[in-house]
């Protein structure tokens, strides 16, 4: 038995979307169901992803229960990156518990001071009192990489500029050059303003269905996720070890190592692409973030699920692509990692 992605829907990414969370989510859900040619009644279970403190709401899935069609149905609410919700959704199907599962993630960076809020995710005894947040942690990780690699900052600037150029048409930020990136102010040295993906609002929904292995469409194959130790000092900072472990699990589940035509990493910072390529031992032939990835707009929590949607669209496109990989991450300096292989059948 296999798990097919029957539909994807997306709202955003948008800068400062004036709509409420249910309004944004409903748009994504309706699009995903429409694409899957399914009504709400065909959905057996729902998996949602949201984080209370980012939404400023207790049990923030309450806000979306109606618009995801979960009333009087099973809903699992995962507080992590949306790709983990998709992986959990695929487990519901693999377990034989449900045939059709809707997975929905939303994020609204315009709601609150995102980076400040992330300080509330850090160890309150040893890290939070120092005023640290995920941005500072990313700076420490990037510096550790740049310390042994004189060309790193130039390379990251080129990556950021390339992603921004690809995203300019549909993203929330204009294109810029590598020189612009290097000239932009440091936000957490060596990270510069323009080498970071712009924060945005949005939602992504996908429909997963039990399918025969040869059934035409895009299938969600091997999946893996992982949580590293919390303290940066207890990790190999210049690696995404957690992604390496998650990827090994995904390959084990998948059975074979597919030739990847496209990769959609959740890179909020240009330097993370180095870590991503390294952890997956990515072939140079794999196209990375053809649409600019998160540089079109980084929607917290929904980011990983939006990457999955991007891979599905690429595999369905006219290019005849066969396989791709979607990636999600959450926590300081990539503490949480998730990865999923998608294949066109």
């Amino acid at each position: 038995m296999s798990v097919a992605v029957a539909g994807v829907g997306e709202s955003g990414p948008a800068l400062d979307d004036p709509r409420s969370i249910p309004e944004i989510v409903l748009e994504a859900v309706e699009e995903a169901l429409q694409e899957a040619r399914l009504g709400f009644d065909s959905v057996d279970a729902v998996v949602t992803a949201s984080v209370d403190l980012l939404d400023g709401l207790t049990a923030s899935n309450i806000a979306v229960t109606e618009v995801v069609g979960a009333v009087l149905k099973p809903e699992t609410r995962i507080a992590a990156d949306g790709l983990v919700a998709a992986i959990h959704g695929s487990c519901l199907v693999r377990a034989g518990a449900y045939e059709t599962v809707l997975v929905v993630a939303h994020g609204k960076a315009s709601l609150g001071p995102y980076w400040e809020l992330t300080s509330w995710a850090l160890d309150p005894i040893f890290l939070q009192p120092l005023g640290l947040d995920f941005l500072a942690c990313a700076g420490l990780q990037a510096r550790a990489l740049a310390e042994d690699d004189a060309a790193a900052e130039q390379r990251w600037a080129r990556i950021a500029a390339e992603r921004r150029r690809a995203a300019a048409a549909h993203g929330v930020a204009p294109a810029c050059t590598a020189e612009d990136v290097l000239a932009s102010p440091a936000v957490a040295s060596p990270l510069r303003r323009e080498s970071c993906a712009p924060l945005a609002d949005g939602a992504t929904a996908i429909v997963l269905r039990a399918a025969g292995p040869a059934e035409p469409g895009v299938h969600l194959g091997g999946v893996g996720f992982d949580l590293s130790p919390h303290a940066l000092g207890e990790r190999e900072l210049t690696e995404w070890d957690g992604l390496r472990r998650a990827w090994a699990r995904a390959l084990a589940v998948h059975g074979t190592r597919p030739t990847l035509d496209v990769a959609e990493p959740s890179c909020v910072f240009a330097y993370e692409e180095d870590l991503f390529r390294h952890a997956l031992e990515l072939d140079p032939g794999t196209e990375v973030s053809p649409g600019g990835g998160l540089f079109a707009g980084f929607v917290p929590v929904a980011a990983g699920l939006s990457r999955l949607a991007a891979v599905v669209r690429a595999l369905r496109g006219p290019g005849g692509l066969r396989a791709g990989v979607a990636h999600g991450t959450w926590g300081p300096a990539g503490q949480g990692q998730a990865v999923a292989i998608l294949e066109a059948a």
Binding site: R19, S20, P22, E23, G69, P129
Partner: protein, 157 residues
């Protein structure tokens, strides 16, 4: 030197005060509802499927899984559907202050709505409260377009 949990040494703790502000979007349905309150007008959204008239108005009926757009007027008078008299007050997250006790609370089914509104009651004597009592809104003098434009509900004599 050893450290074991449960030993007599009092453990230390770290204090953090959360002072955060979020910019919440109302959505168009709630925006219209709140604008109505500023003019002492209450409106509900009616579902074309089940016919339920929803308060608060929302974009979507979770039961019928249909979008909502049919506005219906609701009176500021209704029936007490449930009640209590609170002695342990909730702390208002906006101010950090508790409300003076005791105070009455009710679920009020306003005439013209099918869901109930939770709100304060002017009456705080348990012996004078009962399900089925008729109650009406007591409005603030200067309306601001928020749910506390209604100060509380009083029992209709």
């Amino acid at each position: 030197m050893r450290a074991d949990p449960g030993t007599a040494t009092p453990a230390l703790s770290v204090v953090h005060e959360m002072r955060l502000t979020w910019r919440y979007a109302s959505g168009t349905a709630m925006e219209r509802f709140l604008a109505g309150l500023a003019e002492r007008r209450i409106e509900a959204l009616r579902c074309g499927g089940c016919g339920r008239r929803y308060l608060p108005p929302r974009p979507f009926c979770g039961r019928c899984r249909l979008r909502l757009s049919d506005w219906v007027p609701v009176r500021d008078e209704g029936t007490l559907d449930a009640w209590t008299v609170v002695h342990l007050p909730i702390v208002d997250a906006r101010t950090g202050e508790p409300r003076p006790v005791p105070y009455g609370m009710g679920l009020i089914r306003l005439d013209g709505a099918d869901t109930t509104l939770n709100h304060y009651l002017a009456e705080a004597d348990p012996d004078r409260l009962a399900i089925g009592l008729r109650v009406r809104a007591v409005w603030r003098e200067e309306l601001r377009g928020a749910l506390d434009d209604i100060l509380h509900f009083e029992v209709v004599p």
